[in-house]
């Protein structure tokens, strides 16, 4: 048996899943001040339905880190940046306690300027004097040479053993210094609170006599173990939309180009699935005004949902807020759901109530009720369709760096729209009809988010950079560095094998080796390095991943 719990901003959903069927579902309002108790309440309501059978795996998504970042209530953390010579320092407006220091590495990993020992000593003394107990360090091109970051780390360990340090070269091997610095900072400032939360959850599970595997959902639509999560807690942001998108994918057919349209009370989230693979945000998750190296789905949120209320002020308005439930569910005002209910004769809830409240608004507007419904339905459909199409264009217009990418210019060809959320039944078929594609709705659509959490598999992406003339390689995440055995004749195939081996090692370490065989390469670049007029070696960049997908136990849903 599997349990999936999605702690959302408003509601927390949970499902108990066994052999293709959902045995039980629970929905509760989320208590932002006490996420742990909400989580455990939902768990405790699900457990009786298991009737004592073994729960193999519990996966949950949580807004803990999102809330910490939004309210700035993480641990006070100092960020030491070594930006070298480029952008002015005021371009890096990441956090309040920020310190800039000398020391520069270039793109080939050459140290151009050493640390200024006195300057670093002064900065560390100021941090310690301020009572700050956690430090994040980010140097430009630390992904190509981490020596400057390591030096600062050692200095701290020697002089201030009570201060904890995170360094950017361990967080990510990708280019983009501001994103790497921000990700390192966000990791450092949330890790303490996260570890406490994780320990409490772990204890609560043990107290209930469960020996289930415990996983956390990540923004990239995969999971990681509770242990691994304490290394990079900020990867748990935006796991709500990831849960819904993966849930939609779990319910529908794979290998199609789909839009997952999650229609909530006052917002709709749009995600794209391309040939069965969810689309990632090209610049990483955006936290506040800062882009990061956190892999997250590209999600377009529209302020429009089933409960969005309707108004008339010279013209019909679909508002971006709610005044309560839809009329058909006992609300006092007509909503988007009511308009679709009447227009399409859907018989949702008390359809008479829908008609009555709509008629009141129609009289005020001096039009027929049918005309009012027609206008509302049009507004909703057009707003959703234009947001969906904007996402297609954005994907089509991603920068391209090779001739073949431009020549084989991609065009998004939509196959289906997958509807998720309570109001999807009313709205999604109409949007799909307007776009001339199939709509896909499932009985489990309203709990697709929790189902998604229950059945997704762990993910892992490993990036390898090799510079043969410099006899150097680096692997991320984790900040592994080394020199090559045979610097001369390395070919792309060997670099790929090397990346695969590191992926395998990390899989073993994280208890996910059973997925290692499903890895795939998502980046394979090689460049000849010319010195004068002759070849001196190669640079390789290889990326290999276990992409988002489903655990082997999951074979689809019955019915």
């Amino acid at each position: 048996m599997l349990i999936g719990i999605d702690v959302g901003g408003t509601y927390t959903d949970g499902v108990l899943f066994k052999q293709g069927a959902i045995i039980a579902t629970v929905k509760k309002p989320t208590d932002d001040m006490n996420l742990k108790s909400t989580l455990l309440e939902v768990l405790d309501e699900l457990l009786p339905s298991a009737e004592g059978q073994k729960i193999e795996r519990i996966v949950f998504s949580t807004t803990l880190v999102t809330n910490l970042l939004a309210t700035g209530q993480g641990e006070r953390t100092a960020l030491i940046m070594l930006p070298g010579h480029g952008l002015p320092h005021d371009a890096y407006d990441i956090c309040p306690d920020i310190f800039f220091a000398r020391g520069t590495v270039d793109f080939r990993g050459n140290v151009i300027e050493k640390l200024d020992q006195k300057e670093i000593d002064d900065i560390l003394a100021r941090i310690a004097a301020a009572g700050i107990k956690r430090v994040a360090v980010a140097a430009k091109f630390a992904n190509r040479n981490d020596i400057l970051e390591r030096e600062i780390q050692s200095k701290l360990a020697a002089s201030y053993p009570d201060i904890s340090v995170s360094i950017s070269s361990e967080i990510s091997n990708k280019l983009n210094f501001p994103r790497r610095a921000a990700t390192t900072y966000f990791t450092a400032m949330t890790v303490k609170e996260w570890m406490q939360f994780a320990a409490e959850i772990d204890q609560a599970i043990t107290e209930r006599g469960l020996d289930s595997e415990l996983h956390i959902l990540k923004a990239d639509g995969g999971t990681f173990s509770l242990d691994t999560s304490s290394r990079r807690p900020c990867e748990t942001v935006f796991s709500g939309p990831a849960a819904s998108t993966m849930g939609g994918l779990a319910l529908s057919q794979p290998h199609l180009n789909s839009v997952v349209l999650d229609i909530g009370g006052t917002t709709s989230d749009i995600a794209l699935i391309i040939d069965g693979a969810p689309l990632y945000a090209s610049k990483g998750a955006r936290l506040g005004k800062q882009y990061t190296h956190i892999n997250a789905f590209a999600v377009n949120s529209v302020a429009l949902g089933g409960d969005s209320c309707l108004d008339y002020d010279g013209e019909i308005k679909v508002q971006n807020f709610r005044r309560g439930a839809a009329a058909c569910f006992g609300g006092d005002y007509p909503t988007v759901t009511d308009a679709f209910n009447c227009k399409m004769d859907l018989g949702i809830g008390n359809a008479g109530q829908s008609a009555e409240k709509l008629q009141q608004l129609a009289s005020k507007a001096g039009m027929k009720s049918s005309e009012l419904c027609r206008q509302v339905v049009n507004i909703v459909i057009e707003r959703l369709v234009s947001s969906i199409e904007a996402m297609f264009r954005e994907w089509e217009n991603e920068p391209a760096y090779k001739v073949w990418e431009v020549v084989n210019r991609r065009k998004f060809k939509l196959d289906q729209i997958i509807g998720i959320g309570a109001a999807a039944t009313a709205i999604v078929p109409q949007v799909a009809a307007r776009m001339e594609v199939d709509s896909f709705l499932h009985d489990y659509s309203p709990v697709a988010n929790a189902l998604g959490a229950a059945v997704v598999r762990p993910t892992l992406a490993v990036e390898l950079h090799v510079d043969t003339p410099n006899n150097f390689f680096s692997v991320g995440p984790g900040g592994i560095r080394g020199s090559l055995n045979d610097r001369g004749g390395m070919q792309l195939g060997e670099a790929k094998n090397m990346a695969r081996q590191y992926l395998l090692d990390m899989c073993r370490e994280q208890g996910m080796e059973s997925y290692a065989s499903e890895s795939s390469f998502y980046m394979e670049e090689q460049f000849n390095i010319i010195s004068g007029w002759s070849r001196s070696g190669k640079i390789f960049d290889v990326g290999i991943q276990i992409a988002p997908g489903f655990i082997s136990e999951y074979k689809g849903v019955s019915s």
């Binding site: 010579h85 217009n397 760096y401 090779k402 010319i530």
Partner: protein, 448 residues
């Protein structure tokens, strides 16, 4: 404030040959630098996606012999198309200015193209300018060629166009490819003074180049009042460039662009792929986006290393004064030329294609018009790299041609179809945007 448009197209899958300076690796470290800096994430920058230029966009400018398709590969269309993307974004008001960091380069490509010259097959900036004229009705254009090599292709293309001010500064042609770009090269008889060359001595520094910008180029732009200013932005004046011998710095390039304030900059040469390009490109992006670049410098930069010699400064000052006069007196000179020339001015030209060892012979005929810059007819013959020999006749009616020039040009094309002494006849009527090729032996006409 509108953002600066950046189109970064490094063509990571295109090279002239594996060890050639124009190889896949050329913009690799530039990519590393600008990605690592994270400058593309800033709200001051908007990044764009490349597209393919159309065959017509190329044929509007060039006479590709025998056809556009025969002279170029897709990489060229993407590079030229990228300049067009920037042109559209600028004209449609999405951005305040634009920088196309693209390859292959183009400023050595001339009107007639039998092959690759100086790493260039087609001229990206000039294709963009004719596109701007066609699509947006732009009339007057200024091009400042800041590449270390003389922009001989662009100069040849606009040699007779009084509405294009072409200014090139470069390392003296007696010491560097392509061996042209001397002060006396001032443009054709009806466009005299709108081609301006500033051959600079090797080792000229930031101070020398910025003096020419301040004292000559900016006043000329002020006076010429172009509708648009283009920087043909080579980066090989840099002190570390392996193909040239100048002493310009990354900050000097940033300063130059800040003062010049071009509407659109298009990358040309620059072959110091590791020690210059990453920093020069950063400097250009920052300058165009109005980001403070005082913290930018190359790892080995030492401001005291390069000092302009008083003697060279004296030379530059003299040349600036001389060229200012040539520019200032251009209308008198042109009026004079109109009086003393007949109906046509004819001249021969030999063009050498260094990359492919092609020798082209041309006879040019320019109509001396009382109302416009005149139209041009070019007789061209060459043995191409394939061994094939072509003898062609090309008629180019410029975008700002008067009605009579247009009519006479079109009539000349019809006339040649009857006379038939060539393999191929080309008509390029940029006023009507009517582009034709006539295959004499097959008696067929293709309308592009």
């Amino acid at each position: 404030m509108k953002p600066t448009g950046i189109l970064f197209f490094p063509a990571f899958d295109w090279a002239i040959s594996p060890t050639h300076p124009e190889r896949e690796e050329r913009l690799l470290y530039t990519r590393d630098q600008i990605f690592e800096e994270g400058i593309m994430d800033l709200p001051q920058i908007k990044e764009y996606h490349p597209r393919l230029a159309e065959i017509r966009d190329v044929a509007r400018l060039h006479f590709c012999i025998p056809s556009v398709e025969a002279q170029i590969i897709e990489a060229h269309l993407v590079s030229a198309g990228s300049a067009l993307v920037m042109a559209d974004a600028f004209m449609q008001g999405e951005i305040k200015n634009a920088f196309a960091i693209i390859r292959p380069p183009g400023h050595h490509a001339m009107t007639v193209s039998h092959g690759n010259r100086g790493f260039c097959n087609i001229n990206n900036e000039a294709i963009m300018i004719e596109y701007l004229r066609q699509k947006y009705g732009i009339k007057r254009v200024a091009i400042v060629d800041t590449d270390v090599h003389h922009g001989d292709g662009t100069q040849e293309i606009y040699w007779h166009d009084p509405d294009v001010l072409f200014i090139s500064f470069h390392q003296d042609g007696r010491t560097l490819y392509p061996g042209s770009g001397f002060v006396e090269e001032l443009g054709g008889p009806l466009a005299h003074g709108t081609t301006i060359n500033l051959p600079l001595a090797p080792k000229t520094t930031d101070a020398g180049i910025l003096y020419a910008i301040d004292e000559l180029i900016l006043p000329m732009l002020e006076d010429f009042k172009p509708d648009i200013v283009i920087n043909s932005a080579g980066q090989d004046n840099h002190y570390s460039d392996p193909l040239a011998n100048m002493a310009f710095s990354a900050r000097g390039y940033a300063e130059l662009n800040s003062r010049l304030a071009p509407d659109i900059a298009v990358l040309e040469g620059g072959y110091s792929v590791e020690t210059a390009l990453p920093y020069v490109n950063m400097g250009l992006i920052m300058a165009m986006a109005g980001i403070d670049y005082s913290n930018l410098r190359e790892p080995d930069y030492n401001p005291s290393r390069f000092k302009e010699s008083p003697r060279n400064m004296e030379y530059i000052k003299k040349m600036v004064a001389q060229q200012w006069n040539a520019y200032k007196n251009r209308e008198e000179t042109i009026a004079d030329n109109r009086k003393k020339s007949g109906n046509f001015v004819n001249y021969n030209k030999s063009i050498f294609y260094d990359t492919e060892y092609i020798y082209e012979d041309q006879i040019n005929h320019l109509r001396i018009c009382q109302n416009c810059g005149g139209f041009r007819m070019i007789e061209s013959r060459a043995h191409q790299r394939t061994g094939e020999h072509f003898h062609v006749f090309c008629i180019s009616i410029p975008a700002n041609a008067c009605q009579q020039c247009q009519e006479e040009g079109r009539a000349a094309y019809q006339d040649m179809i009857k006379k038939r002494p060539f393999d191929l006849l080309y008509l390029q009527d940029r006023v009507k945007d009517d582009l034709r090729i006539y295959k004499v032996h097959k008696d067929t006409e293709t309308v592009l």
